[in-house]
Amino acid sequence: MEVPILKQGAFLIATFQAALSDADLNQLRMGLVQQVVKFRSRAVIVDVTAMDVMDSFASRTLREIAHMIRLRGAETVIVGIQPEVAFAMVQLGLTLEGVATALDLEEGLAYLNEKFKTTN
């Protein structure tokens, strides 16, 4: 199932559905990296609220997305990680270091708005 990428002002929002195959994840990664420059977006929000399991591939892909987006001149925020998933990820050593995180979509938007307020 393909992940839709929504444009919301200066940001792009991608919402994960429950079960994503590795191919879907790869497709999402390429889609985001292409569109972030095409729409001249300042940031990308990846919402993973629906994921109650996060395997190492998904986690690594998230980190790669964040780093690629940064190389393309924008920022990434991961939002909506479930408490159980968060602890399982940490135990597997998947801590998404260097990637911004927020509680949910609202918080992620608030974080980005705050961050870009001064530079607007």
Partner: protein, 296 residues
């Protein structure tokens, strides 16, 4: 086999006398000499300084009911009533600080007192004494076992209940300001409690929409490597939920542990005491605390 048949067989095959019949004889003997034997037992109990937490009258009252249930268990060979009594007794005496060795001790004393009275009664008929003891000993040992196990089980139940109570009391996640949680940890943290703390904290972050969490471990004297690692993981997991964790009140020993396991200090936000932690949290949240007037 009826009694009349037994009487007609030659004396040497009397060895095959029913054990239950012997037990009946035994029980009759114990009933007859109840007052005297019970007295003797109580004297032995105070001589050996058992049950010092209880008064003489209490010991006598308990001894009476233990004696009666003991004889009854010998008679009926049904241990349920005795078991229930042992549990009930344990429930009453555990809060008064009666120890396991005391309970086992008094039951063994009773066993010995009764055995002695049997020796005295059958001293002229050694074969009969042997047979009586054959019937008495297994039953008596089983009684001692039942009482001891009942006591220990009751004690374990009490301990479990208390652990549960402590666990529930000991993990509050408190909101002190909008979006600011405090998790004060006091006492010993074992891996199980650490896991529970983490679960509660992560859930608390979600329900309170917290942005900053202060974990205060002033009340924790030391933690082992497993728990220290767990603490670090909790900090990282909280970050994945978008919350910043500030750890306050690290004791020198815990600081040593964290250094030994090589924690990446860039991930850990630590402040000396709880007050400093809350002040830092307020800064992060954009609060500014000002004094409106001089305190009276």
């Amino acid at each position: 086999m009826s009694k009349r048949d037994v009487a007609s067989v030659p004396p040497e095959s009397k060895r095959n006398e029913e054990p239950s019949e012997l037990l009946r004889e035994l029980v009759a003997h114990l009933r007859q000499n109840r007052t005297q034997l019970r007295e003797e037992w109580v004297v032995r109990i105070s001589e050996t300084r058992l049950l010092t937490a209880m008064t003489k009258e209490e010991i006598f009252a308990e001894a009476t009911s233990v004696y009666d249930s003991y004889v009854e268990a010998l008679e009926t060979e049904a241990f349920e009533a005795l078991q229930a009594y042992a549990r009930n007794l344990s429930e009453r005496i555990i809060p008064r600080g009666v120890e396991t060795h005391e309970v086992v001790g008094i039951v063994l004393l009773l066993r010995d007192v009764l055995a002695r009275s049997l020796f005295a009664k059958y001293q002229n008929d050694f074969k009969k004494l042997n047979r009586i003891l054959d019937a008495y000993e297994p039953a008596a040992n089983r009684i001692a076992n039942t009482v001891a196990v009942g006591f220990v089980q009751e004690r374990e139940r009490v301990i479990r209940q208390q652990q549960e109570a402590i666990r529930e009391l000991s993990t509050p996640v408190l909101q002190v300001r909008e979006r600011l949680l405090i998790l004060p940890i006091i006492g010993v943290i074992d891996p199980q409690r650490a896991r529970q703390l983490t679960e509660q904290l992560l859930r608390g972050i979600r329900t309170n929409r917290a942005k900053v969490v202060v974990i205060d471990i002033t009340g924790v004297a030391a933690m082992d490597v497993t728990v220290a690692n767990h603490l670090v993981q909790t900090v990282e997991a909280s970050r994945l939920l978008g919350a910043t964790v500030i750890v306050t009140g690290l004791s020198p020993e815990i600081a040593q542990t964290l250094v030994t396991i090589g924690v990446d200090l860039g991930k850990m936000n630590t402040v000396g005491d709880l007050q400093g932690g809350i002040e830092q949290a307020e800064r992060l949240l954009g609060y500014k605390v000002a004094t409106l007037a001089e305190p009276r």
